[in-house]
């Protein structure tokens, strides 16, 4: 009779190739959403900046100026409070607040959720204001067509060098609070040089949400990026 042979379980660790993008789930939804925006003819843009650089004031001004001729909407992310949505409602554009709780950035699922029930083809422009943070939002694609990074003249010329990742991830830089430039001796040339160092060729706008300086050029830029007829005129 033959002795029964038993194979011992393999206990030697082995290396298994996986190759998976950690943020794949986010990226997949972002791609789907971007395609939906394009098909619907809505230009979706997101805004990132540090807290207090004037995202909400800028957005309020932009929504107010666009509202008469275009269908605009906004989503605003904050850790807590609905203050920003209340401020933006003064522009008469539909605004939805996304409360992130303890999360320091927006993820695309939050955007997708906040857009539920909204007819995208009824919109010309959608603005997504991220949580005030120059670090974490850089990792998350929100499905936006363009990402704007804002920095105010009061923040210091070296902000792009201190946060190169988020500046690099953006498509356009917007220098806000230009009405305060002289008071804080803002060095515009150095700021522009630093922006170009981390993102060569990036378009830069300098404006004031308070006085309206530079807003015309910025709005022209936005309109140029919309290639379809306006939803408002349909």
């Amino acid at each position: 009779m033959k002795a029964e042979t038993r194979v011992a379980p393999c206990l030697v660790p082995r290396l298994v190739e996986v190759r998976r993008n950690v943020l794949k789930q986010n990226d997949v939804i972002a791609r789907v959403l971007r395609e939906q925006f394009r098909t619907a003819g809505v230009l979706a843009v997101s805004l990132v900046s540090s807290p207090g650089s004037g995202k909400t004031a800028f957005l309020e001004k932009t929504l107010t100026l666009l509202h008469s001729r275009y269908k605009v909407a906004a989503l605003v992310g904050d850790l807590a409070t609905e203050n920003d949505a209340a401020r933006l409602a003064r522009s008469h554009a539909p605004v939805r607040q996304i409360i992130t709780g303890t999360v320091c950035h927006l993820e695309v699922a939050m955007v997708q959720n906040a857009l539920k029930g909204r007819e995208l083809n009824q919109l010309d422009f959608l603005f997504i204001e991220n949580v005030g943070n120059l670090v974490c939002p850089s990792s998350y694609d929100l499905g936006e067509e363009l990402r704007f990074v804002l920095l105010s003249v009061t923040e210091g010329e070296d902000k792009p060098l201190k946060y190169p990742t988020i500046f690099h991830s953006a498509d356009v830089a917007i220098i806000t609070k230009s009405d305060l430039a002289a008071a804080v001796e803002f060095d515009e040339a150095t700021t522009r040089r630093n922006i170009q160092a981390v993102r060569p060729g990036m378009e830069v706008f300098k404006l004031s949400s308070k006085t309206g300086e530079g807003m015309t050029e910025f709005l022209e830029f936005l309109k140029r990026h919309r290639t379809r007829p306006t939803a408002a005129s349909v």
Partner: protein, 115 residues
């Protein structure tokens, strides 16, 4: 600080892969982390330990391979490693370039496991 949520995604992903392969223990996770991923290595390492607690990955190691930023130089027509992420230009000829070929990775490449 979003490293904890990233660490939890890594653990979840590794656990899923390990279970699918009938693994009993994961000893290490190999990760490629780009310099432009927006994730801080040290913060990720400490978050990882927390995220592993009471999972199949408890006690495992996160092995991070940092991926430098490689750009494409339009003048040299070659891939080049930037010398600093504060200066996106070709280190050889100085031509500025925004075209990034590598450096945004945040990818689990392999798992070291016992079956």
């Amino acid at each position: 600080m979003h490293e904890l949520s990233i660490a939890m995604s890594i653990v979840e992903m590794a656990q899923e892969e390990a279970e699918r392969r009938g693994s009993v223990q994961v000893h290490a996770v190999q990760l490629r982390l780009g310099q432009l991923s927006g994730v801080v290595k040290q913060a990720l390492l400490s978050s990882y330990e927390m995220a592993c607690a009471t999972t199949l990955l408890e006690g495992s190691q996160l092995l991070i391979e940092e991926v430098p930023v490689e750009v494409f130089c339009p003048k040299c027509e070659l891939p080049r490693l930037v010398t600093s992420i504060q200066w996106f230009c070709c280190p050889e000829c100085g031509t500025p370039t925004p075209t990034v070929l590598h450096g945004k990775e945040l990818e689990v490449v392999a798992l070291e496991m016992t079956e």
